[in-house]
Point group: C2
Chain length 292, copies 2
């Protein structure tokens, strides 16, 4: 584990940080590829910066971008050195930006100084086979709250997912499917959901809940490039159960076909395999390098 | 400022703490009275422990209670010593309990070890007159999200209030009034709201949003003891504007009469003064001592 706070090696954060007090901040979890490079870097930064703006961070985002880039480059260098002897360069890069310390209660200080946390940890083992064999998915009881101002963002208020994720501790299920307050399907606990029906891919809109997934965005682009129509619209669990196939997407896991949802089995469709293949090629050819 | 982490003097917290990562925890802000004793201690503990249970903390709460009590007693001793020369023994005790470090993503470790943060800071100056003169209140554009599983709890996911509180930075307004997703009035940004109409006090139910206020609970008890009926029910802004008087309650501020809401002025009612008086007597006679 490599851990930097504002460009310095660190293990701890000031207790007065507003990220802890209020969840006042945003984060990104980014795959480091076989060359130890952050996958879809620009797209991740785009979501991160949109989150900062929506939370009312008034800082100079260009300056912040340069600082984060510098932090990340430094951490990647250390990571590459530490892994030079091993065959595994992949890893998980997590970037957290909090509002920093201070303020009178809920009001952030006018000139708040954000804290930048950059972590690199080992690539998660034992998940690789799920993209091939398919995921077994629990149907969560806990539903997302609704919040149109915060929906889509990857902010630090994540209790909905913590509650939903506690519904299973078995080794059978790989993920959980969550509904929203309207009773429609919203997402996986840690992933976005796509449902295939009569050659069309359906995925929920994150207008009241959910997170605008980076891998989901890629999958939509890839699908369209393969002439597979994608529709972002609301649908219920019944629609999912009556569908031809289900996929879950996530920055680390890529595309997981769902083979079991609750008690119902699903086939892994040709469309899913097509998308997995095209996505792999596209990610390998990606030019979203770490530029700053 | 006095700051303890798990009973030890501290300034920092491990960056891997789930309170930071997900807002996975709860907190209480408690007034220290003129004898430097925590006001309404048992009621605060009750809400804190209910929050822990609802978030799925599986720890022994009796054990945790003894630990927190010990931390607080220790901190109060240091606080009393530090203030022995001054006339001011009052202060603000903040207790934060996080799930602690670790877990695979959103799933907390089965045997998570909570982090206990105990802070004592100076009593906020310059607010005292508001209880006498009345509060000028901004009507917030940002509405509470809805979340029936989390409503009422004082958890660490507080972005709704951070967003609402950023709507004013002037010295004119003392508080903001927030609505919920249904368009009804829910609470102040840092307080609960009571509306007086024809001798009855109305206050919203915190079933989809808001926090079950400790001072609000006291005010309800005091009102009933004065034979003032209290009804917990939904109402809109129109109802507030057509009311006889408005009050805001908070553990540090007690009862604030509202004299200005948006553009409309309100009188300070006899009922409000009666409740303020009775509350003061009740708090002074309170036997909710720090027992452990």
């Amino acid at each position: 584990m490599i851990l930097y706070l504002n460009g310095q090696v660190a293990t701890d954060l000031p207790i007065g940080d507003r990220g802890l007090a209020y969840g006042d901040g945003v984060f990104e979890t980014i795959a480091l590829d076989a060359s130890a490079q952050p996958q879809l870097w620009q797209t991740h930064w785009q979501r991160l910066s949109q989150g900062l703006v929506k939370l009312g961070f008034t800082n100079d985002l260009d300056e912040l971008y340069v600082q984060i880039c510098t932090d990340v480059k430094h951490a990647l260098g250390v990571w590459a050195n530490a892994n030079s002897a091993s065959q595994e360069s992949r890893g998980v890069l997590k970037i957290t930006i909090t509002r920093g310390v201070g303020g009178r209660g809920y009001l952030p200080p006018e000139s708040a100084s954000p804290n930048r946390i950059v972590q690199i940890s080992a690539w998660p083992q034992g998940r690789e086979h799920v993209a091939t064999d398919g995921a077994q998915v629990h149907v969560c009881q806990h539903a997302w709250g609704c919040n149109s101002a915060l929906a889509g963002l990857k902010h630090l208020n994540r209790l909905d997912q913590v509650l939903a994720r506690q519904e299973w501790r078995d080794d059978i299920h790989h993920e959980g499917l969550m509904c929203n307050q309207a009773g429609n399907v919203q997402s996986g606990v840690m992933s976005n959901v796509f449902v295939e029906k009569d050659g069309v891919l359906y995925t929920p809109i994150n207008d009241t809940a959910g997170i605008d997934g980076i891998m989901a965005k890629q999958v939509m682009q890839v699908a369209r490039s393969l002439n597979i129509p994608v529709k972002q619209q609301a649908f219920g669990l019944d629609f999912v159960y009556a569908s031809d196939g289900v996929m879950l997407t996530n920055s680390l896991n890529g595309v997981w076909p769902v083979v079991l949802l609750g008690q119902q089995t699903f086939p892994i469709t040709d469309t899913c395999r097509q998308i997995q293949g095209a996505l792999k090629s596209q990610l390998q050819a990606s030019t979203e390098s770490l530029a700053c």
